[in-house]
Symmetry: C2
Subunit: 342 residues, 2 copies
Amino acid sequence: MTKSRATMTQVARLAGVSIKSVSRVINREAHISPRLRERVEAAIAELNYTPDTAARSLAGARAFVVGVLFDNPSPNYTMNIVGGAHEACSAQGYHLRIDNLDSTEQDRALADQLEAVLSHGRCDGFVLTPPLTDIPLVLDTLERHDVRFVRIAPVLAPGRTPTVQIDDFAAAGAVAQCLWGMGHRHFGFVGGPPSHGAAGTRRAGFFSRLKALGLEAMPSEASGDFSFDGGIAAGFALLRTATPPTAIFAANDDMAAGVMVAAAQCGLAVPRDLSVFGFDDSWVALSVWPYLSTVHQPIRAMASAAVSLLLDHPREALALEPVTLDWTLIERGSHGPVRPER
Amino acid sequence: MTKSRATMTQVARLAGVSIKSVSRVINREAHISPRLRERVEAAIAELNYTPDTAARSLAGARAFVVGVLFDNPSPNYTMNIVGGAHEACSAQGYHLRIDNLDSTEQDRALADQLEAVLSHGRCDGFVLTPPLTDIPLVLDTLERHDVRFVRIAPVLAPGRTPTVQIDDFAAAGAVAQCLWGMGHRHFGFVGGPPSHGAAGTRRAGFFSRLKALGLEAMPSEASGDFSFDGGIAAGFALLRTATPPTAIFAANDDMAAGVMVAAAQCGLAVPRDLSVFGFDDSWVALSVWPYLSTVHQPIRAMASAAVSLLLDHPREALALEPVTLDWTLIERGSHGPVRPER
DNA sequence: TTGTAGGCGTTATCAA
DNA sequence: TTGATAACGCCTACAA
């Protein structure tokens, strides 16, 4: 039952062609007659042939390995990235490597971590996720080593490298629009740490739309650090004031969940007394009650796209034009119309 | 700066030995004189040599790939499994494959999924996670294909295959003990679906200890399905009764978080009016307020151990004696002493 | 458009 | 205890 896998030689024999021709078909090289290709493909199908990755990487230039570099505390986010990247890899017979860096380290230590990763084994390219995407040292080191990489949702120097992203600015604007449409006029915003640049973009999109809508008093602000704890603290800071906002937009879901906790502690019911909006549509959005209204970010798809970018383009032809995927406004239970003033 | 990696031949030349001897040292084979080994190791260190995985797998019997098979909806759980497994793999120069099966499929479809996974590429072994660990069809298929695998926290036929686990029974007993010690006498238990056998073990451990402690009225029960939603529903079922429990133990954290929501809806404050205990110490435990008291399960370590089991033992020497790791009772904010009867 | 020869870096076989 | 030498399955040159 354990029949050994077919080899290229066997395929060639069955198709009555040379092994090199089979190789050409497999690698979609040019200059092959349709007739030959057809016969080879038939043989491949009949033998259920799959090229041997080890042999290919030994003989050729490719390692058939793609790496994901991450430093994101949220397992939800990372799992989606890994899942999406892995899917794209495995569809093309590539392996996925994942390496967790610690960007809070000193520059020197971070550089060492990177060197270790790079010397660990051959790799055809890397996918970078925030906040690594915005650390100059990381980009510099990778470029110096002449390694290909694609960044996901970077903020720093967007045009510098191949990129996959969503339009954070527009999405945050849509949140503002939605809340405004429900009558809210007093807003709060919970931002992220400087290292997560996307928080800044979301803030800008939110504020900009509100201003365009005619809002005069800009939102009160508090800074979380993209964490649940930070969200609770920020929520208190925003809510325990003379004129608390009726709607709070947090730059990610974890912080939004924290804001909901703060609201409950303050005796405020969500969404009756306070509307809350998050960003990411991560796992936590469905682990709070009411379910969190948020912006869905297609993280898996973004990671897949990043890998495809890496694999589908020859070494020097990586488009620098960012690939921009669609976000979706997810209106669940944590927001609603503003209550009439008492 | 991009100096190409050293090869075995170069090491051999530098050490003044044959390439085969280097190979022997690398693979820790027997019958090598200390002197030779020493020289080879010096050369390896000097050249900073790392064996080429592709070449090794082409020439040898190993593929240098380990697979993780999962079907667990919780990204936290899966991420920890993947992280731990990956760590162990990469320490030994192995790649990690991850494959998501859908065990809700019909037998036939599930078998097809497995066949697809198995024919996808060579693999030196698999790590199975619940609930796949307890599906006879999966075990049978894997064994029929003569594939090595280790199960994590299986319930079905524990001695049948190499296994890594914790003592769910004892851990659940500790929860009972803790709650009992705080004066609770009216308990509720939220169980899981039959497919997740561990829920049954936890139930048994909880009930058994309570009985040993002298409790007469066994806990009221409700079944969630290991989900947040299920936990909310189960919480309502348990709480909206004439004599609601003062403490509820849920078989996992997601359900416990749901119970907390139900409690809040019922006007019960946690832990003042109701104590809640979860199991797993997953991400959600720190995304609710108060933080969830729970049992810490060393998931990463379990996955690492599973991979080590696979890699450190020759084909037929996989110990059947289960490897049992330690759990920890994590007492956070969701439980406390029972309130005196009103 | 197709085919031939050689080699990638390692392990396996067999001999010394 | 060591060392030649032949695979492993494929790709890169080059030739036809």
